[in-house]
């Protein structure tokens, strides 16, 4: 009897404590929650909503079911832009990761001028894409751009790099790799430094060559980092379109356009927000897909600790 009363009193105290914790925590979170809801969650839902409604040029919009989606699937530009984006991702992600790894391995060891090297590799990442695009735009300018001048001095003819659909993507990819690789290098560098030096020594004692060690130990141990970077790079390749505004406006003939740029164009130049919403839903689906693959599948396979 007594103990029953006591435990009732106590559980009340515990409940009150829980209440307090809850309220405190939610208060702390309030600003973040409100802002996230306003600028991430609500927009996502609203995008989905709008993708099922007609465009209201000066009138009212109505529910149109999948019409916008059918329209999208019939839109050649959409497919081209999607294809471009995938090609762009495939071209930039592995290259920048490979280069980043190479750079990180170099600047991780005691090499002459190590901090200069780090600086050189990392610098492009702090520059605004807009500025970078301006600089590279001039590189690629046909005729008197740096690239053409260089080629001409070697006796090759010039080329309209950004004006040619077959080269424009590669040109942009090279620039993006240049800008991004240094950023990823830092992550690899951080990861490399967490690999205990004894591992290398143990392998040395066992007779492993440097290359063997790199392949069989370093590389697998860097897998979580590689995964992290890949995801980031992948997301970036769907997010980064600043350079298009400056360099190509998506041209020629959409050869360099990317999904987000197309969304920007449709929404703001063509003022077709319903179709833009539909495209955005696609983009969100892609990004969510990337995220889910990471969380559900890759994370489980790659972590050792």
């Amino acid at each position: 009897m007594v103990s029953a009363v006591m435990s009732a009193v106590e559980s009340k105290a515990i409940r009150r404590r829980n209440w307090q914790t809850n309220i405190n925590a939610w208060l702390l979170l309030l600003p973040a929650v409100v802002l996230l809801a306003a600028f991430t969650h609500y927009p996502i839902l609203s995008t989905i909503y709008h993708s099922f409604h007609s465009l209201s040029r000066g009138g009212t919009s109505e529910f149109v079911g999948l019409e916008n989606y059918t329209f999208m699937l019939e839109d050649d530009v959409f497919w081209q832009v999607l294809r471009n984006n995938i090609i762009f991702a495939l071209a930039t992600v592995p290259t920048s990761i490979g280069l980043a790894l190479l750079m990180a391995v170099w600047v991780d060891k005691k090499m002459a001028g190590r901090s200069f090297l780090r600086l050189a590799f990392f610098t492009p990442t702090v520059l605004p894409m807009i500025a970078v695009a301006n600089i590279w735009l001039f590189f690629y300018t046909p005729g008197y751009g740096l690239l053409d001048q260089f080629l001409k001095s070697l006796g090759f003819s010039g080329h309209n790099w950004l004006g040619d659909p077959s080269t424009v993507m590669s040109c942009l990819a090279v620039m993006v790799v240049w800008k991004e690789a240094g950023f990823f290098m830092i992550f690899y560098l951080a990861a490399l430094q967490t690999i205990p030096p004894e591992l290398k020594e143990a392998a040395q004692v066992e007779g492993a060559s440097r290359w063997y060690f790199f392949r069989r130990v370093t590389l697998p141990l860097l897998m979580p980092t590689t995964l992290f970077i890949s995801i980031n790079a992948l997301i970036n390749s769907f997010k980064l379109v600043d350079q298009l505004v400056i360099m190509t406006k998506g041209g020629p003939n959409n050869a360099s356009s990317l999904l987000l740029y197309y969304i920007y164009e449709v929404a703001f130049t063509f003022q077709d927000t319903a179709f833009a919403a539909t495209l955005t839903v696609t983009l969100i689906a892609i990004l969510a897909g990337v995220a889910l693959t990471k969380f559900v599948y890759l994370d489980r396979r790659i972590h050792y600790q």
């Binding site: 914790t21 809850n22 405190n24 925590a25 702390l28 979170l29 600003p31 973040a32 929650v33 802002l35 996230l36 600028f39 991430t40 927009p43 709008h50 190479l102 750079m103 170099w106 090499m111 001028g113 200069f116 050189a120 590799f121 990392f122 610098t123 492009p124 990442t125 702090v126 520059l127 605004p128 807009i130 500025a131 301006n134 600089i135 001039f138 590189f139 008197y144 751009g145 740096l146 001048q149 240049w178 240094g182 992550f187 560098l189 951080a190 997301i235 997010k239 379109v241 600043d242 505004v245 400056i246 969304i263 929404a267 927000t273 833009a276 919403a277 955005t280 990004l287 969510a288 995220a291």
Partner: protein, 269 residues
């Protein structure tokens, strides 16, 4: 044998590094020389600041600087406060709905405001904030990345430190202020650097929400200034470009050790 391997690699590394600096070096070259030398390399070419003067006079760069400065300060300050509070709650409280809420925060890591330009534009215009500096910053105030990083950091703070502070009489806020915040210093620095450079460099969103010189940040100013239609002199454009990147670049050169290190130590991954 080992020695030689090394030197081959050193040379390769240096070659790549120089190649990497080439675009930057080139832009400096062209910005500091008369336009005749924009594409000709001649060590005797005269140095000049003329391009900068012309750029400065042709567009309100002073105003752009001010706008960008206000923008990054505001964004950083808000992000730090908001993320600190949220991260503290996530790291140290067990409350109803925590995991769901955290997952909802993480959504923003994947689907950033950059992607939701159309709807965010609606929201901002609904708030009647178009063409203002807060409009540029607002969607970024709650940074999932910041929350995530700080939460990691805070979780790494040994429980003993928290308990020691509590035994010594500190309140919840006291613990946050006296223990977590100082211990998060590296993370704060790393995050601050990322945030500042991100918002200094951000373009598409500010392009969309700003119209006027009074709110336009440097990047948008530069894009407007350098639009090919206007056919402004290449050297002048590079000068403007250099002006746009200079503060960040200088800060980076000055603090590169801290920058790289705090990055690595914050264990962003």
């Amino acid at each position: 044998m080992r020695q030689k391997d090394h030197s081959v690699e050193t040379i390769a590394a240096w070659a790549l590094a120089l190649l990497w600096l080439l675009p930057l070096a080139y832009s400096l070259w062209s910005a500091f020389h008369p336009s005749e030398y924009a594409t000709r390399f001649d060590l005797t070419a005269p140095l000049t600041l003329d391009n900068f003067v012309r750029a400065w006079n042709q567009a309100p760069f002073a105003r752009y600087y001010l706008n960008t400065l206000m923008l990054v300060t505001m964004v950083l300050a808000c992000q730090l406060v908001i993320a600190t509070l949220a991260a503290y709650a996530f790291a140290r409280f067990k409350f109803f709905g925590r995991d769901v809420l955290f997952a909802l925060v993480l959504v923003q890591l994947m689907i950033m405001p950059d992607v939701l330009i159309v709807e965010n534009y609606r929201v901002i215009s609904g708030l009647n904030l178009l063409d203002t500096i807060p409009a540029i910053g607002l969607p970024y105030f709650a940074s999932a990345f910041g929350i995530f990083l700080l939460r990691q950091t805070f979780k790494g703070v040994p429980n003993e430190l928290v308990e020691a502070a509590r035994v010594e009489g500190a309140s919840s806020f006291g613990v946050l202020w006296r223990v977590f915040v100082p211990l998060g210093k590296t993370t704060y620095i790393a995050f601050g650097l990322v945030s500042v450079s991100y918002h200094w460099n951000n373009f598409l969103w500010p392009l969309i929400v700003t119209n006027s010189v009074e709110s336009r940040p440097l990047t948008v100013g530069l894009a407007v200034f350098g639009a090919p239609e206007t056919g402004v002199d290449w050297s002048v454009i590079t000068a403007a470009t250099v002006m746009t990147m200079a503060p960040l670049l200088l800060a980076f050169l000055l603090f590169q050790k801290q920058f790289v290190q705090s990055f690595m130590r914050a264990g962003i991954r």
